[in-house]
Amino acid sequence: MIETKGLRKSYPSGKHGRTVVDAVRGIDLHVRAGEIFGFLGPNGAGKTTTLRMLATLIRPDGGEALIAGADLLADPAGVRRRIGYVAQGGGTADAVTGREELVMQARMYGSRKADAQRQAEDALKAFDLTEFADRHCSTYSGGQRRRVDIALGVIHSPKVLFLDEPTVGLDPASRGQVWAEIKRLRAEGMTVVVTTHYLDEADALCDRVAIVDHGQVVVEGTPEALKREISGDVVLLGLAAGEAQPAADALRGQPCLHRLEPGEDGLRLYLDDGAAAIPLLLSVLNGAGIVPGTVQLQRPSLDDVFLARTGRSIEQS
């Protein structure tokens, strides 16, 4: 549904615009029809820039992309008809109602007035917005506003929907509602590309994900396959400040350890069978005079995938 090759974008930066930031440095993506595709990465990785290029808002400096059969560079108007895009910050005016915004949006996509009103009514019902549809957008809660934003993005039934951080800043209940809408859209046959910082959400809800860092795709695949590459378990040792380094020194060289990563408040250990290794690890640490405050056993997460590839964590950045 979406194929990109070598998409690039740099911005002038610095005081006088003489240096450049390479926001996106060659992104290759393969998004399949009808899937929820997660686009993950730390702050400044280039997620928004990539989405804005695919939504025809900014012109790529290089590379190519085919979206639902339309060529991004040769036929941006065709791309626009096939896609919906919901920006990181939404895009509703304060002094108009949700219904008015939906009608306006449908009319910007070319519908006649009567059709636009019917489309708006349908969207209000589908997204369960009727209750506050005739209040000004300025009075909406964060979750309500977000759902209106998404309804605006799909008013013209696009083939592909781009959602930039749809759940950021929402409480867990509203996040759940937003994800329920996204899954409903997939059930209706839409392809959804969504960026998020919440890796556990992406893990649970995306069919496939791409993780980007510094403007490049680090890895792409199903969450299961990516985590499977990080074989085994993760053991999390909670340590007092200053103990992480001596603990790492003491444990390094243990045959059961694949890798170890010092974190904010302890150590992350990657190994095959965490449960069996914990007693041994603790005795080694005791030998070095270190007693961890807590010990946790975890399955690897998408953050561990990122950590394994880049040595940094998304969630702690």
């Binding site: 012109r59 896609i83 910050g89 895009g91 005016a93 108009v96 306006m104 009319r107 910007m108």
Partner: protein
């Protein structure tokens, strides 16, 4: 066709937004009327050297300048409202749709133009009891000139809002542009009162021609060459400004 339809769509939305913030309507009406009423006592004396011997004659000189300054400055400052729309993501949302980019500009600029023309009509009406006399044909031409001025300066202002790298730069840039334009076009007082060198400089200011054209129309000389010269200069600049800003609406990367 699509352009006209889309422009009308954007225009209607902008009108709706204006009605929803009535404070702007109140300010828009009271401000020019105050200008007219508070300056009235000063006018006769100040304009006496120009040959104004009565209030009526003073208004003949002052009102066209006031109308021009209203449209020039009103237009130049309208870009500030676009900053809010940019920040709220409304422009970006529109740009993802197939809506005409020229319409995104024109719908907004025309809303501003209509608002300024309504103010101009109010000022004209208020000035009538003070003895302002102008024949209807000349008045219509004058309103045409004003509409072009408002459209041009609005387009320039939106262009500035789109082209500047950050919002904080908007106020100094607009002020820096507006002040010399205002002073050198002789909007509030005619440049005939100014020293020769200043008049020479002013002749390079397109708004000077517009204001001179306005004055000719209000003093009952629609046939003066300065009228068609003013109209021509303003028309050319309006077309250029509209196309320049419309390009920014479609290519803007900020």
């Amino acid at each position: 066709m699509k352009l006209a339809r889309d422009t009308w769509l954007v225009f209607q939305r902008q009108v709706l937004l204006m009605w929803r913030t009535p404070i702007w309507i109140v300010i828009g009406i009271t401000q020019p009327v105050f200008y007219l009423l508070l300056f009235a006592p000063l006018l006769k004396k100040v304009l006496a050297p120009m040959g104004a011997t009565s209030y009526a004659e003073a208004y003949q000189i002052y009102v066209p300048g006031l109308l021009a300054v209203l449209c020039i400055f009103g237009g130049l400052y309208t870009g500030f409202s676009l900053l809010g729309e940019l920040k709220a993501g409304i422009i970006e949302r529109s740009r993802v749709t197939p809506v005409s980019r020229l319409a995104l500009l024109l719908g907004r600029a025309l809303r501003e133009t209509v608002g300024l023309l309504v103010q101009a009509v109010i000022i004209t009406l208020v000035a009538l009891p003070f003895g302002l006399r102008v024949d209807p044909g000349s008045l219509l031409l004058a309103y045409l000139l004003l509409a072009l001025l408002a459209l041009m300066t609005s387009a320039i202002s939106y262009g500035i809002a789109l082209a500047l790298p950050n919002d904080a730069a908007m106020a100094p840039v607009v002020n820096t542009i507006a002040q010399p334009i205002g002073l050198l076009s002789g909007v509030l007082l005619p440049l005939a009162l100014a020293p020769m060198w200043l008049q020479r400089v002013a002749e390079w200011n397109p708004f000077y021609w517009a204001v001179e054209g306005m004055r000719a129309l209000f003093s009952g000389h629609p046939g003066d060459s300065v009228v068609w010269q003013g109209l021509l200069i303003v028309t050319v600049l309006t077309v250029a400004a509209v196309f320049y800003s419309a390009r920014l609406f479609s290519a803007r990367i900020r």
